[in-house]
Each structure stands twice: as C-alpha cells, then as structure tokens.
Symmetry: C2
Subunit: 345 residues, 2 copies
C-alpha cells in the first residue's frame, strides 16, 4: 500500500491528512474523539470504508475518554459520542454501520471492560475492511482484461478504504497478476480526489495513469479509448442503486451510451438493505466555497451562488456488476445483494 490512511498506535488514532496530499504528508495524532469527527467533516479522512473505520476508532477514543459515575452515565455519554459521528456526514453508510456495531459491542463487566471491548471492535472492523477490500480486489481483477484502459472517478484506493482499495484495488490486483492496465483518472471537482489522490496512488504503484478533467470522460469513451469504468460506492441500496461521488451517474450514462461496461467495487459494508432504492439515500450538500474556489484560490466572481451536492445516485440499470468480497453480483441485484449482505441464514 502507498500510505496508511488510518492506524491505531498506542491508544491513539493516526490519520494521514488526505486534504493536504499529494503535497504534504501530514499525520494527525488524535486522542480526542471530537478531532476525529472534525477530520471526517473536513474530509481529512474520506472514502466510505475509511470513514467507517475512522468512526469506529473515534468512538473507541470517545469511550476511553469518558469519566463517569457508573455504567448508566457512561452509556449516556457514549450515546452522545456516537451521535456526534452520526451527524458528521450523511451519505456513506459505512459510518452508520460502524456506529451500530460499536453500539452492540458496548458490553462488559464495568466501564473499563466496555472501553476495552470498543477498542477491540474498532480493530476488528478495520481488520475486516482490510480483508474485504483485499478479497474484492482479487475477485474483481478477473473483469479487467490484459491491455485495458480503465476509467475511474474520485479516489477509491487504499487511502479511501483504510485497506487495499475498491476500484483502485481491483486495478492494482489486475496489475499484480501481470495484466497490463492503464488508467484514465478524472480529476473529480470540486475537491480533486482524482487529481490529488488517485493519480498519486497509481504513480506510486507504477501503473500508467492519465489525468483528465471530469468533462473529458465522455469524449474518450466516444473515441473507443475506454475498456471499462470502475468506481467505488458510498452507499448501495437494496435494489443496486449506487450513491457515489458526484459525477458518477454521468459516467454511468456515458458508459451505457458507448457500450462500455460500468462496474462498482465496494465491500458489503457499503450495502444498505434497509433502503429499497437510491432515491432514499441522503445526499450531502457541502459548502459552496468548495465550488467557487480551488485550493483556496477564487475561480468565480465574488457573490456568485453555487450548488455543491457531494454525491449522486446511479440507478442499477446502468450498473454492469457490483464487485464485493463475497463475489461479483449482477442483476437481479435485489437477490444478489441480500445474499451477500443480509443476515446469516
């Protein structure tokens, strides 16, 4: 892996500040859960799986910091910690799955034992995401042909997952199997995760990458230069509709129009069976400043109105396959996703 997005070191959470990459490699050593909340809100840690892992560690940190008279007070204050994470970002379901799991894990004989159980559960969640992204990367690499040009959007690499990556994991695994793979990476405005993070990760992996603006993807598909599109996901509804970084829907439509396979790579922790379809997925609206400026430099006239939806929803009819650690799922997604992510029978 190029760099560790998250690491649990001596009872603290070490976060690689992704907002400053690729220029500065700054690690934040966080021991206060409120700083973890802030790191998520400010997208210093981002990517649905990584957000889920960070929230788990953050809740463990919050629990360790509670000084309470008795278990009832402890659990009440633990609830407040969890609530702070629940309102940090709305779209990635991995966050809410982590909160649920940490909530369930808050058991033990006395406060110290609960605190220890929460750290264990956070470590387990991280381990599971590592394993899941490794496994789905291997499985998905079958879909990438030798000599392929793969188009990807945003960043779904090791940084985004605190593991091996999803979309980039698949691409890297294909490369490791000896396939010649090149990548067309969209810059991904407004926050440029493609230009800053995907380009950087692939550069370090030695995989040839060409950076394009988001507006160029259609042109290259139309020219027959793209063999497949692979993206990550922030939440997948029970019917296979996929919320992912703004611009993903556009790529899916363009892929469909040009006969290019469109794949989504995500661990099953990204699947939300409680939501029937994508129109029920909450879409985060972020600050207009991210659109009217780039790296702090204004790019538009003063006083201009801007919109900034951070995600969009791709209806499942555009999705050729969903690559998970439990297998590659195709239509009918309702059945495949339930089998992969539902409760054990």
């Amino acid at each position: 892996m190029t760099a560790r997005a998250l690491e649990w070191v001596d009872g603290r959470l070490r976060v690689l500040d992704q907002s400053r990459l690729p220029w500065d490699r700054v690690y934040l050593e966080l021991s206060d859960y409120r700083d973890v909340v802030l790191a998520i809100e400010e997208m210093r840690v981002r990517g649905a799986p990584a957000i889920g892992v960070a929230a788990a560690y953050g809740i463990a940190l919050g629990a360790s910091g509670i000084r309470a008279d008795g278990e009832d007070e402890f659990l009440a204050r633990l609830g407040e910690v969890m609530k702070a994470f629940a309102v940090s970002r709305p779209t990635a379901v991995n966050l809410f799955r982590s909160i649920d799991r940490m909530s369930t894990a808050a058991r033990g004989e006395g406060i110290a034992e609960i605190q220890r159980a929460l750290i264990d559960e956070a470590l387990r969640i991280h381990d599971e995401e590592m394993a899941a992204t490794g496994q789905l990367s291997e499985l998905g690499s079958e879909l990438v042909g030798d000599g392929s040009m793969v188009l990807t959007h945003c960043n779904a690499g090791p940084l985004a997952t605190a593991g091996y990556g999803t979309a980039l994991g698949v691409i890297i695994a294909a490369g490791n199997r000896g396939k010649r793979v090149s990548v067309l990476a969209t810059e991904t405005r407004p926050l440029l995760q493609g230009a800053r993070l995907t380009a950087w990760e692939l550069q370090q992996e030695g995989i040839p990458v060409t950076l394009i603006t988001d507006s160029m993807a259609g042109h290259f598909m139309q020219q027959g230069k793209v063999n497949c599109v692979i993206v990550g996901a922030d939440r997948i509804a029970a019917n296979g509709d996929v919320a992912n970084k703004i611009g993903t829907y556009t790529l899916a439509v363009l892929a469909g129009e040009n006969g290019v396979p469109f794949y989504v790579a995500a661990p099953t922790s990204t699947i939300d069976l409680s939501i029937a379809s994508g129109d029920q997925i909450p879409i985060e609206e972020r600050s207009p400043d991210e659109v009217t400026g780039i790296r702090g430099i204004p790019i538009a006239p003063q006083g201009i109105t801007a919109a900034n939806p951070a995600f969009d929803v791709t209806p499942h009819r555009y999705v050729g396959a969903i690559i998970t650690e439990k297998g590659i799922i195709g239509e009918p997604y309702v059945d495949g996703l339930r089998a992969a992510a539902g409760p054990e029978p």
Copy 2:
C-alpha cells in the same frame, strides 16, 4: 452588453483580456498582428465568433504594417500574415472563414487601397457578427419558456462573440422579453470559462445564475431541475454534428437520457459545409499544464501525465435544434444547414 471583447479604435485593435476576467479588466491595445495571433493562442480572446472577428482585424493590422516594393511582394507577405492566423487555433471554423473573406477582399488599385479594403472588410465581418448574434438571440428566445432553468456550458456570451452572444444571447433575449429565466452554469474545466465569464456576464445582466462543477450537470438533469440545455459551437459540420468545448458531448448525452431538449446556438459563420460530418473536425490538443494546474496552482502530483483535448463532437442525433440568424434549424440538418449557410441560389 457587459463588456466589449474587441474594438477597432484609431487603427488599433483593443482586446479585453478574457484570461484575466473577472478579476482584472485589462485591455490590450494591439497594433502588431503577431500580438493578435498570440492573444488568440493564449485565449485572451476566445469563442469561435470572436476569434473570427479578431483574426480579421489582425489580418487588417498585418496588412497595414507591410512595407513592400510593389503589389506582388505585398501579397506574398500578406499570405504569411494569414498563415500565422491559420495555425493559431484549429477547431473554430470562423477563423478560417475570416481568412478566406479577407483573402478575397485583398483587392484594389495599389497597396494603400488594398490595406483600406482589408480594414473595411474586418469592420464588415464584425458588424455582421453583431447583427447575426442579435438576430439569432431573438429567434432562439422563443424556445425558452417562462420560468425555465437553462443549463449552459463554457461561455457563449457577448465576450465569446464580439456581439450579443449565442447561447447566452438567447437567454438574455428571453429575459429581455420578460420571461423569468435562471441559469445553471458549468464551471468548464480546465480554463473555467463558465465560472469566470458566464457567471460574470449573467451577474451583470441580473439573470439568476448558479455555478456548478461540470460533474454535477447530470445530477441536476436527473432531478428534473433543467428545462433545456443551450450551448454555442466552434464548428458545425454539414450533417449537423457540432464541435464545441470539451464536455458538450457529455451534456448532450445526459440531456437525451433525461428528455431535456438540447439546443445549439451559433451564427451561420460557424457552419462548415465543406466537412460532411463531425469526425473530420480537427480537435485542438492544448497543454497538459491547463489540466494539472488551476490558475497557476498545481492540483496534481508532479510528473503526472494529462490529456487536454479542448473540444469534443456531439453527433447531430443528440441536437434538438440549431439556432442561427437565418432561422431555427431541425432535422434533416443537411438540408437546413445548406439552405442557411450555402451559396446564394
């Protein structure tokens, strides 16, 4: 009009430097044709109709500056001037149309008379573009319903045309007729003509405008927020295929997918009947630095490869209508475009 892109003042060409808008309003006073070539190459003047007008003035300037022994030497050196413009930018056909017209206009009794004839022809080309964009704006405004949200890409306003604008001309004319119109403006990476120029022009016209990244257009169409898309053009082939700023093809596909009408507004000077279809239109590849940086600030890791096609081609099957000063043209485009732009019968 918000600001004059080009003006012929006392035998010199005054160019509003669009690369510095909206922050600085800098006028370049050009008397050497090579500076006009440079202003076109560096996109200080841009937009197909404005490039055509600038080239005409530039050729007139070049002709005025020639000191020659006799008409033969004069015409040989005038040919070199024209060649410098012909290689400045490849895609906008208005440039080549201006060169052709100036070439034909280079007639007269002696050098001084030819020089005068070339200035007259440049002024005439400018006048005609003013009239054409005014007329097509009025005609096109019929297509914009009261209360519409119009999505546009890049900048096809007064600045781009040295006239009333094409896509923005239509929108402004609809507003002047009392229709309530709002605009969703894509920022248009890499050079941000939407964020810098369209947002600025509409702000000054008092037309409500919301800035979005290029990647958001699909999402807003999917949400049913867009009533029509109107863009300009850099070259229209005989069959109605349209070359325009990179990203236009993507918007056309998205519009088609979502049942949103997609219109192209352009004077007939943008129609190239000599080219049968869009795949023969030369697409300019500009410097990768425009993609790897924004306003001089790097946005990607050092040493990264980037592609930078400046235009794409939208096949005519996605185009709902082409709005010209001679009328609104629909399928079959071959007939309508020939009638509008062909030689007088």
